[in-house]
């Protein structure tokens, strides 16, 4: 049996940030060697430390989807993920979707269908759309509505968002 760690009295322990850990994150195609405090969420790390503010904080509790990014092609809530957990992962944020100034077709479709108003949930909606297509689960209109329901839009642009996703689905099926 392992020795129990000595009870740490938080009232007397010195209070400071936890020591940083080294991680490698491949962000938007670029490998970055970084020092991260283990209590920092991937969302806060992107926004506050790497100045990638395109990923949004809407609740910090996995309830709104504004922070959706792609990790190894899968959509995740970056607020429910600590940065240290993603050592070695491929991370795509909204800033990494356009290639050489040319918008990703889903980004362009969001503009063409006016699938946003204030724009705050939009990066999450776009990443979620790309992730949804990668998953290959959605077949029907109702599937789209269900599988996009983790991304809340308070402006209420759902009617137009669904159109964008439908189009993206058709594009992926045509390939």
């Amino acid at each position: 049996m392992k020795n129990k760690p000595e009870h740490e009295n938080t009232e007397t322990a010195s209070l400071s940030a936890p020591p940083k850990e080294a991680v490698t994150l491949h962000i938007n195609g670029e490998a970055k060697q970084l020092e991260v405090e283990p209590w920092t969420s991937l969302l806060d790390f992107l926004r506050d430390h790497l100045n990638l503010t395109g990923t949004k904080k809407g609740c910090d509790h996995g309830q709104c989807g504004a922070c959706t990014i792609l990790v190894d092609g899968k959509r995740i809530n970056s607020c429910l993920t600590l940065a240290v957990m993603k050592d070695g992962s491929e991370i795509t944020t909204i800033e990494g979707l356009a290639k050489e100034g040319e918008l990703h077709p889903v980004q362009q479709a969001f503009i063409d269908h006016d699938a946003f108003q204030c724009g705050y949930c939009t990066p999450g909606q776009i990443c979620s759309t790309v992730g949804l297509i990668n998953e290959g689960k959605a077949k029907t209109l109702d599937d789209i509505r269900d599988l996009m329901s983790g991304n809340v839009c308070r402006c209420g642009a759902y009617t137009n968002i669904v159109k964008v996703v439908q189009e993206a689905l058709e594009r992926s099926q045509a390939k």
Binding site: H61, I94, L103, C118, R145, R154, G156
Partner: protein
């Protein structure tokens, strides 16, 4: 007016910035040496802070300071200095002013540290001892002590007209009912945030989430005794607001305080939970009594409204005006009383007063129509108002009949069976309901500046906001149209207190107000350009007046002979490389006040209610809107779609639950406070009926931010009645109310 840009379904000019993540919101300006603040909120609803111990928090390495009422600087003091442009009558809440607790989740400390995580940790280490006093947050039990405020924030209810009591008593068909809904919270996706940049000379640049930068500037300068030139407020993008950004919220005060005291840039962003710690749509109870003749003519109407407010400000909104706007009735009595509770002051929330007042009015009218055995559209046509009876004024325009006609046709209303529970599909009961509504189409005073540079490019600016409404886009369209140049040659700037003055973006008045100022400024530029064009060698326009030329395709040409033209570039070449600059302040025309000015809407809804489970699905919505001239059908449609989604939320989901034992809103996150998600929204169609209005403003456009929501909740409630035969008078209509 010949149109090239106005009326086109143009993509948002800020679209690219929003889909690439480049659009920066208030809490995203990462300036060097930024410190982070985290707010500590009160755990009790009423009482005093006996002791607040920050010592443990201050021990944390990297924590800079913890601000409380004990170390708040003395210069922030006078009550009146905290008044903002949208403050209701009363005494505004002053963060960290003293040890008194007035409502649950009141901000009582701000921990500031080198990182966000440290600030959050430090905030968790602040220890507070309270001395609690009995609180009262129970709306229902306090209705009896409701009072008429000395001063309303909204308009005062009209004096009674006709003989309402006698008319009601003698009406052969009567209904009465109490209609209620709970408090609701705005919950824009972006939480309220302020980044305050401190400069060595003590001047501040404030990035704030606000629906009008001038309000933030006024608030900061007054509360902190600063001069306008010391405080520049910038707010290029706002991640939704819906009214929550009409008043500066407490994170602004705290961030400015910390930045000034620490002489350092500070950001304070609220958490989603803290988004439930300030204004909300007030709970109301509305008591209706209606009387009609057997033929369906409305003979009497009484509406008594009771609405929640705080103990320190008298918030009120226009809940009782809608009957007089929407129905012809000779005998009307209205009242609006306030119920004072230990809560934060309510706050305008998308279509304040309209969303709630029209819900109750339209449900009551539906009940009356059923009692009469009349089709709800026929009933409304029979009692159609040709003037606003509150003010006894004719409408500047009102194409509501056309909304009924086109909306009903699109919906297939004629196939409806009047009888409740008469339409079924498998185990689903089908209900079709409708309601109509109105929203004010006001214009206020605003300024705009138009600058044409020697390269022929136009920049127009005004200190207005774009909270997702499309301000950037429609102002660009209006400017491009006025000078007859391509959209790409126009830049519109907003959200900066150094720009010409504009009012708060609220009340669906921005296109009307700022759009008119933009047009006026561009009209002045036209005069200047024509004069310059006349100086061009051999100019064909020498004799031409402004009325004789058109601005189109980058050219100024004679209306009578379009080949006789001078390009704007050629005209500008006469200005020695200098720019043309015109700043204009525009006001509503004097004759506007002779008219009642409203946008109108008719909403038709289909619901499917599972007979066994009581689950409700809003399967179809048709919203037919008379909103004057539509500047951009694409963004306009989005506004209405969003309004419909909000209506679904109001009708079926939104409900901030007060625990009266604790005096605290319990469901303060997006898990427990439900707002519509994608799966809640099905087939929604928007129709804009043609409406000409030369009174409302020179553009003929009415605002659309609020008209989309007002009649959705009652149309859903009426559809649920049609489906089930059960009248639910209390929002939200959740399945437990149907079982």
């Amino acid at each position: 007016m010949k149109t090239n840009e106005i009326g086109k379904p143009t993509n948002r000019v800020d679209g690219r910035l929003k889909v690439t993540g480049e659009a920066k919101y208030a809490g995203e300006f990462n300036v060097p040496n930024l410190a982070y603040g985290f707010v500590v909120n009160s755990a009790i609803a009423k009482g005093k802070i006996k002791k607040i111990d920050t010592s443990k928090a201050l021990e944390v390495e990297g924590v800079l300071e913890v601000f409380t009422h004990e170390n708040r600087p003395g210069y922030v003091w006078f009550d009146k200095n905290y008044k903002d442009m949208d403050a209701p009558p009363g005494s505004p809440f002053r963060p960290l002013y003293d040890n008194e607790i007035k409502f649950s989740m009141q901000p009582i400390a701000l921990a500031v540290a080198e990182t966000f995580e440290l600030a959050r940790y430090a905030a968790s280490l602040v220890r507070i001892e309270y001395e609690t006093s009995p609180h009262d947050t129970d709306f229902e039990t306090n209705i009896e002590s409701a009072y008429v405020p000395e001063e309303y924030k909204s308009g005062e209810p009209s004096e009674p007209w006709g003989q309402p009591d006698q008319a009601l008593a003698s009406a052969p068909v009567q209904i009465e009912g109490d209609y209620t809904h709970s408090s609701q919270h705005h919950n824009p996706m972006e939480m309220h945030a302020s980044t305050v940049v401190w400069k060595d000379d003590g001047k501040l640049t404030v990035y704030d989430k606000i629906q009008g930068v001038m309000n933030t500037q006024q608030y900061v300068t007054h509360a902190f005794g600063m001069q306008p030139e010391e405080v520049q407020v910038i707010s290029p993008f706002v991640g939704g607001a819906f009214g929550s950004g009409l008043r500066p919220q407490y994170q602004l005060f705290l961030a400015v305080l910390a930045a000034r005291e620490l002489k350092r840039s500070v950001r304070v962003t609220l958490t989603r939970q803290q988004m439930f710690s300030f204004g909300h749509r007030p709970k109301t109870m509305q008591r209706f009594a209606l009387g009609a003749s057997k033929e369906g003519k409305l003979e009497a109407l009484k509406q008594d409204v009771f609405a929640e407010t705080s103990r320190f400000e008298n918030y009120s909104e226009d809940v009782v005006i809608w009957a007089g706007v929407l129905y012809k009735c000779g005998n009307v009595k209205l009242s609006h009383k306030l119920v004072e509770l230990d809560v934060y002051t309510p706050l305008d929330m998308r279509a304040p007063g309209g969303t709630t007042g029209i819900f109750a009015l339209e449900c009551a009218m539906d009940e009356l129509a059923y009692k009469l055995g009349m089709d709800p559209v026929e009933f409304r046509l029979k009692n159609y108002s040709e003037k606003d009876q509150n003010e006894d004024k004719p409408f500047s325009s009102k194409e509501l009949r056309e909304c009924y006609r086109q909306g009903a046709e699109k919906f297939g209303w004629e196939k409806r069976n009047l009888e409740p529970r008469s339409m079924k599909e498998g185990h689903n009961l089908i209900g079709w309901g409708m309601a109509h509504g109105a929203w004010e189409a006001n214009q206020a005073q605003a300024s705009a500046k138009a600058v044409v540079t020697s390269d022929g490019k136009l920049t127009v600016s005004s200190a207005t906001a774009d909270i997702g409404t499309g301000t950037y886009t429609v102002m660009t369209q209006i400017a491009a149209e006025t000078l007859g140049i391509p959209l790409d040659d126009v830049t519109f700037k907003l959200g900066d207190s150094s720009l010409p003055d504009a009012p708060l973006e609220g009340g669906s008045k921005t296109v009307s107000t700022v759009g008119t100022a933009v047009k006026s400024a561009c009209d002045k530029v036209r005069e200047r350009l024509l004069k310059l064009a006349q100086q061009v060698k051999d100019s064909p326009l020498v004799e031409a007046s402004l009325e004789q030329v058109i601005f189109e395709g980058g050219q100024i040409s004679l209306k009578s002979e379009s080949s006789k033209a001078v390009s704007i570039m050629a005209a500008m070449s006469q200005n020695q490389g200098k720019a043309i600059e015109e700043e204009v302040s525009s006001k509503p025309a004097d004759n506007q006040s002779d008219y009642a000015r409203y946008a109108h809407v008719a909403t038709f809804v289909e619901v499917k209610v599972d007979e066994d489970l009581g689950t409700i699905k809003v399967t179809r919505v048709v919203s037919a809107v008379a909103g004057g001239r539509i500047i951009n059908p694409k963004t306009a449609r989005s506004q209405i779609l969003g309004g419909v989604v909000w209506g679904i939320g109001v009708a079926m989901e939104e409900d901030t639950v007060m625990d009266n034992n604790l005096g605290r809103f319990m469901n303060h996150d997006l898990d427990k406070y439900h707002i519509p998600v994608n799966a809640d929204v099905h087939d929604v169609e928007v129709i804009f009926v043609e409406e000409k209005d030369e009174i409302v403003n020179p553009l003929g456009a009415k605002g659309l931010g609020e008209i989309g929501i007002v009649s959705v909740a009652p149309a859903i409630a009426n559809a649920v009645f049609h489906a089930t035969g059960k009248r639910v008078r209390e929002l939200p209509i959740t399945l437990d109310k149907l079982l």
